[in-house]
Symmetry: C4
Subunit: 217 residues, 4 copies
């Protein structure tokens, strides 16, 4: 009917639907984590308190994976505020990224189950390795977006690229930690997520990024 306006909203909707679909996958993956924690049955010798205390690996793994997926959602969300149109390559990389996010409940349950057993290092390697690969996909996707010129103008591309490059490095360290101890692998995951989500260093970064945009505008 109305050609020109119909074309513009279509382009905007395309990015919007990729984000909406991604938000859905992130939200579901992060919420499914709780399903992996089994409720202790009634007939227990030592009482429920002891049974709940014995579930600490599940609770720790839940918190570590929730926060890590949460921070990855945050990064995804920020990445897409910098992207103003989607193309097929970006959608393909995004699908790969979402497959990684969807996968996380499995290594989470695996590490929780084996955290006190002889296989904690194997489980920890699967866990840390999954996040390491996700961090790689994130970086490749960002570089693709920059290369395909789908990013908005007036942003500090080099600065953001350097920030994203920190992820694979940190999760490579996590893989090394996992070869020693599954418990430390989870503890460091929590610390990483808290570092990314909470401290002023991040807030400064966060403020600097829009500041650059505002300044450029």
């Amino acid at each position: 009917m109305i050609e020109a306006p119909s074309d513009k909203p279509t382009a905007q909707n395309e990015t919007a639907r990729v984000e909406a679909f991604s938000d859905g996958v992130f939200a579901i993956a992060i919420t499914l984590l709780i399903l992996e924690i089994r409720v202790p049955p009634t007939a227990q010798h030592d009482g429920l308190r002891t049974a709940l205390l014995h579930l600490w690996p599940s609770f720790l793994a839940f918190v570590a994976s929730f926060l890590t997926i949460g921070v990855m959602w945050l990064n995804h969300h920020r990445l897409f505020t910098l992207i103003n149109r989607s193309d097929d390559g970006l959608i393909a990389f995004n699908l790969l990224l979402l497959m990684g996010i969807t996968w996380i409940p499995f290594p989470t349950a695996l590490l929780a189950e084996h955290l006190r057993g002889p296989d904690q290092r194997t489980a920890g390697l699967v866990y840390a390795g999954s996040f390491f690969l996700l961090a790689i996909v994130f970086n490749v996707m960002w570089r693709y977006a920059v290369h395909a010129k789908t990013v908005v103008d007036h942003i500090n591309v080099t600065g953001i690229t350097r920030q994203y490059a920190l992820g694979p490095l940190m999760y490579a360290v996590l893989v090394v930690i996992a070869t020693f101890s599954g418990v430390w692998c989870l503890v460091v995951s929590v610390l990483y997520a808290v570092y990314f989500a909470l401290p002023p260093s991040l807030w400064r970064k966060g403020r600097r990024a829009p500041g650059h945009r505002a300044g450029a505008t």
Copy 2:
């Protein structure tokens, strides 16, 4: 391309995506509750009717948690109508809040499983304590938003702060109730949610809040 307009929608989209992601997590957590209710198997002595009647703790816990999460979604939704931009601190608090919401299916199944056993008070404490902590996070998040000046103008901040402060108080009472009886803990949870969602007192509050905005505008 177009600097000024591209900046404004970006800011709006950021809040919109935080809300969309939160809506997703709330919607999934509230719907997963039903998965915790196991269907009675076919080979039963007393017939299905008796088996279903014996499931009343699961049904009661489902209703109590559904309504409580529902009312918390409502509060979250109202909170974000008062917030006109998101910052990193708000997103971090929101993530913490969502972790609490995601967590609820576990204490719900725990209390349903142990409601008639000797451990009902332990389970009730975990249940009531979870909602108490959620109410605290809600309040801290609201105060942070007021402090960080991300709230809209012309609203009765002091009045809303007083309303939110009611939550931790009521759920502290629920913790005390849980030390006596798991069943009463669930019954009072239902009453709380109905009180928050249904009676004219809430509707009056609801009307007053936009009234203030309208009046100020």
Copy 3:
């Protein structure tokens, strides 16, 4: 910052978020249905074909509940196109409706499990009764919206009220059918949903409704 415009989008966003949250709950409840169908294990005497054929109650229950929830989503969606602002009462009724939708996977699994056993009528009554209550909540919600004057102007309120009233009547018949046979209860549920979703009678209705609006405008 900008008072007047900020007030208008807020009101629109409120309805939008209620719809988004509802869409999420509908989408999750409708998708969780498949989790209730257990995959036949490998060590089977008669082979997988026979095992799959024996799962027909689960498949039938899946189709019946999927289509019924789908049609209810459609009605919910149409209802909200007729509502131009949300208030607390509407949100409370909507929460009650969503609790009913979230509940559906349980009676679905219950009826599938007991469809060939002596308890099929008990299970059928729970199943049909759930849809009957949902249809009642739908009607009460619509009448509330009309009464609270949150509906758009220029619509044939009486006509729509009459259409909605058909629901409780049809599902009351389903309750009667369930007292005879669980299988027929499912078959009739499928027929109801197909009747509501497919035949020209509905399409005519659907066209008439926007036609009224267009004509009035």
Copy 4:
């Protein structure tokens, strides 16, 4: 209140809510796939590494179904960028399509469970047949949309119809492959999805389609 504008947003919202609901169902179905992979328990003779290696059918089935649903979401998303209003018939076909998407976790778990057993061909037929039927529904839905004139102007309808027709053909081949081997059925599913999502042939197609629109405008 304001007749003309209220009518236009209503029509836009209708398509938006169909897309949002569909996105939700796609996102949940694609994320539920991981729940079908059971974590190996702790007390294992050969250690966790061997147990994980034995899970390869589950991992392969997860990747195949994730990518296939992902590509179907992509097609759905593109289809709806070509549709500028929804009608009851389209919504009914869309509901049928979503029922197919929701169904996919079952054949995925079925094929993973039976991939190394004597029933792999039966399971493979259910798996490939499900995707074949989905591809048919996609085509019928597209033709209906063209027939009902709900598509946007200035697009190469014949070209798109030919592209969509490729789906049923390819999945018919998959059905034939499944009669020989369940493993090859999964491997070819992955190859199909990668072909649809990754290679330049798709990107060329993707660019051509908006190019036509842009050219027409």
